[in-house]
């Protein structure tokens, strides 16, 4: 059991990285990887929100949707839960921790549309995780996503100083190329740990 949780955590970061293997969460990945600071800020908020909504959605799915046999509407419920909890979180932060809210800035509302959040909730249903596994999976996925976006942001910062990217490729184009090569290198971990 303990080993399985550890292997889920390692797998979500290296072998089944949600950004580099499943190519999820690409829109903030491309637009926010321009500087290391924004990438890091976005990453922190993603870690926080994904872990929170993963846990919430597990509780709602298994305690409400399954007993009432209404798994069919899980998509809508998950989306509503994600949007509502992000809004709630922002209000709470604004009231009690304004400093943290300022440092999260624009990223918190943006996360509502980050597909990593929904994907984690859906994976947890497909793979039939229990509560602890879900929390570890959600946390690990978000850490993996943050790792990927920080790597790419650091590369792009270096490129903006020393690179000479062809005109047509600047911006999103070169980000896709970098992300592609990084994703290829992450394939080296394939077969190290297995999750469902």
């Amino acid at each position: 059991m303990k080993l399985q949780i550890l292997s889920i955590f390692i797998a979500t970061i290296f072998t089944h990285n949600i950004a580099l293997t499943y190519l999820l969460g690409m829109c903030p990945f491309i637009s926010l990887s321009r500087s290391l600071k924004t990438a890091w800020g976005m990453g922190l908020s993603v870690i926080f929100v994904v872990t929170l909504t993963g846990a919430l959605n597990w509780i709602i799915y298994h305690w409400i949707l399954v007993p009432t046999q209404s798994e069919l509407i899980s998509y809508i419920v998950f989306i509503i839960v994600i949007a509502a909890s992000v809004q709630l979180l922002e209000m709470i932060l604004e009231k009690f921790l304004p400093g943290l809210q300022v440092s999260f800035g624009i990223f918190l509302p943006l996360i509502t549309v980050n597909c990593v959040v929904l994907a984690v909730s859906l994976f947890m249903v497909i793979r039939d995780y229990n509560f602890i596994q879900t929390v570890v999976f959600a946390f690990g996925s978000a850490v993996g996503w943050t790792l990927a976006i920080t790597i790419v942001a650091a590369i792009k910062e270096k490129l903006s100083l020393s690179g000479d990217v062809p005109k047509g490729l600047q911006g999103a184009g070169i980000t896709m190329v970098i992300a592609g090569i990084v994703a290829l290198t992450f394939l080296g971990f394939a077969g190290m740990v297995a999750i469902q």
């Binding site: 290391l36 790597i151 650091a154 020393s162 062809p166 190329v177 080296g188 190290m192």
Partner: protein, 342 residues
């Protein structure tokens, strides 16, 4: 020589030939030499320009190259030729379209790329790999000195993943024509048999063309370190961390992990540590960054070799650490040169 310089100078002023100015420039600078300073990495405080730098690397690669030609004959020659021709074509095309100089960095990339291939690689795969590596690994980032990843390894990685059966199952022993799927590392993984060290050192084993004559690689690597072309920190920390980790693993996990000396000499580890990880452009610039880079390469190589589905992890680990190196540099600078808070 001066005459040649003048003739070339006149040639590219002819109307129809202006477009090909980069080609004339490179011919000019190879035979005559230029006095310009470098405008991109690698920068060195010495009377050493990129060209002498690259020449040193090529001299250091000579033992491995000559050994591969001696071992595999025309196959090795053809692969090196195709690698230079196809990659050079990509390089020249970019230089002409973008109106840039042709950099001699390609002379190293083309040779290293050929040397890390299995001797049975079909020539069209060689061409695909070297073009992918040059275009996506180097030209898209702005050419020599601006690349993030090692271009030869990007090409090698692409063809390894695209044509796995060609790239990982057909190896040759020197002087023979019998294709085998066994390399020292795979025989250890399946049967726990350690290949004798003399075979590994002198090249009497299967493997990529340039990586099996390990005595020559050690000599070449030492030459690079002694002439200060490559930094000693990366090979030392890379080889050291692989040695220590596999010693620990072999002691505590038993036969699943290969013994340390065998790991050090098997596969492409020596070649990668001496010639590819030390690439001054795609490794960190800071000294402590170089230590971290080497140790990271060692950890990833150890993990991938012993615990993943792949037998050899040198290529993956160097590229992974290439990806990490801007982040490492950033963090090192941030931690070391923290602005004083008032």
């Amino acid at each position: 020589m001066k005459k040649l310089h003048l003739i070339i100078g006149k040639l590219y002023k002819i109307k129809y030939l202006t477009k090909f100015k980069p080609i004339f420039n490179v011919v000019d600078s190879i035979f005559v030499g230029v006095k310009d300073t470098t405008d991109s990495a690698p920068h060195v405080v010495d009377n050493l320009d990129t060209k002498r730098y690259m020449t040193a690397v090529i001299v250091a690669l000579m033992p491995a190259t000559l050994a591969s030609i001696y071992f595999f004959g025309w196959k090795a020659l053809a692969i090196i030729f195709v690698s230079y021709a196809a990659g050079g074509l990509a390089e020249v095309t970019f230089a002409i379209i973008r109106k840039k100089e042709i950099h001699e960095g390609f002379l190293v990339t083309g040779l290293i790329f050929a040397l890390v291939l299995p001797p049975t690689t079909p020539l069209w795969v060689v061409a695909v790999g070297v073009i992918f590596g040059t275009v996506f690994g180097k030209e898209m980032f702005g050419g020599t000195g601006r690349n993030i990843f090692n271009p030869a390894l990007v090409g090698r990685l692409f063809i390894t993943l695209a044509f796995p059966s060609i790239m990982t199952t057909s190896w040759l022993k020197p002087f023979t024509d019998a294709v085998t799927s066994a390399t020292p590392l795979t025989t250890f993984k399946s049967m726990q048999v350690v290949t004798p060290f003399s075979n590994l050192l002198l090249g009497d084993c299967t493997g990529s063309m340039g990586e099996i004559f390990r005595l020559g690689i050690i000599v070449g690597g030492l030459f690079l370190i002694l002439t200060k072309v490559s930094n000693w920190r990366i090979p030392v920390s890379y080889l050291g961390s692989v040695f220590i980790l596999s010693w620990l693993g072999n002691t505590f996990l038993g036969v699943k992990v290969a013994p340390p000396l065998f790991q050090l000499f098997a596969g492409g580890l020596l070649f990668g540590a001496m010639y590819m990880a030390t690439d001054p452009v795609s490794s960190p610039f800071t000294k402590s960054g170089k230590w971290i880079f080497g140790i990271g390469c060692g950890i990833f190589t150890f993990l991938i070799r012993n615990f993943s589905g792949y037998v050899e992890g040198v290529m993956f680990s160097i590229l992974l650490m290439n990806a990490f190196s801007p982040l490492i540099d950033h963090l090192v600078i941030e931690l070391k040169y923290k602005p004083v808070k008032k």
